[in-house]
Chain length 196, copies 2
């Protein structure tokens, strides 16, 4: 795998502003992986490719979902989720990426999912808090991420949920499942450490 | 069915304060059914019985779920949801209530569900806004309920979701599915009326 070529290919998929965001996510994901003992190479790769199909026309995403054997139920879900699954398909197709851990981190970076891996959490969290992000609550997320990976992502999901409630928009059920699962893990860890 | 006997039996299941809440829900559900052309008798019955098992000891609820053929997955869900399903079982068992529409309105009054019936919505909404309720946002819900049933329940669910996020607690996935579904219905109706 040629890193420079992958960076160039990614850059070609999107406007300059989106690419700047992607490189912010790469920087943040790598630093989170280092901080929490994660897999730095996979964090780099998944972060670089997470928005690969984000700027593709919606019709192109729909065609890929219909014709390339992606789960048909995706079409019933919110369109904002499409680019993540289509992106995972595209980087396998175009660059031979076949590491399922990396592909899953790409697939679930927008919604999260129940049973998130550490890599999933890192990419999803980096997407919330990369240096270019600016929204109510982002500094709380960054602060938490100094020490607590799961707590920081819960705060990220909270910000999304509050925003969607405020706007009267639908909430991804997967995000709620992911958040509930992280809360269970946090609670479990607290109980364990109380018993030491 | 003897209404007085049912009221007395319900009263015996719970402390005075809870029973007062129940009678508030009855009053509100009946008035919502009248306002929106719903089934007043069913609204009365489902509202009266919605919290039938609410004050039962948690061990009794667990025993019913395990031994009486209720969905075992309930045990993995939050305990706050148990009383609704156990209540539906109890009123069938003890009072021969076998109207599935009424039983469903009891079962889903706490969480909501995808594809809520008008009766489900009325009981769930009445539970949010009965005269004894006092929480941030309750007046907005009451105001909306003067004209818009689904919008009012979305506001109810919003208040629950905001509260749970604020407290760092888990959100019922069914509530999010119910809210998303109501938002879809509202949107659909808006588009239809725009075409008239």
């Amino acid at each position: 795998m040629n890193r420079e070529a992958l960076i160039e290919a990614t850059k070609r998929q999107m406007p300059e502003k989106r690419f700047k965001h992607v490189m912010g996510v790469v920087e943040t994901a790598v630093s989170l992986a280092e901080r929490f003992g994660g897999d730095v190479d996979r964090a780099w790769l998944a972060a670089l490719l997470h928005d690969y199909a984000k700027a593709w026309p919606i019709e192109r995403m729909e065609r890929v979902i219909r014709e390339e054997g992606l789960p048909a139920e995706l079409l019933e879900h919110d369109k904002e989720l499409w680019h993540a699954h289509v992106g995972a398909w595209a980087v396998r197709q175009e660059h031979g990426i076949d590491d399922e851990a990396v592909l899953d981190a790409i697939r679930y970076h927008t919604s999260g999912r129940e049973g998130m891996t550490q890599l999933d959490v890192i990419v999803c969290l980096a997407d919330y808090m990369e240096p270019g992000r600016d929204f109510p609550g982002v500094n709380k997320i960054r602060k938490l991420a100094e020490h607590k990976l799961e707590e920081a992502l819960v705060a990220g999901f909270d910000s999304t949920i509050l925003h969607l409630v405020d706007k009267g928009r639908r909430i991804f059920p997967l995000t709620v499942l992911a958040r509930n699962d992280l809360l269970r893990q946090i609670e479990h860890r607290r109980q364990e450490s109380a018993h030491i």
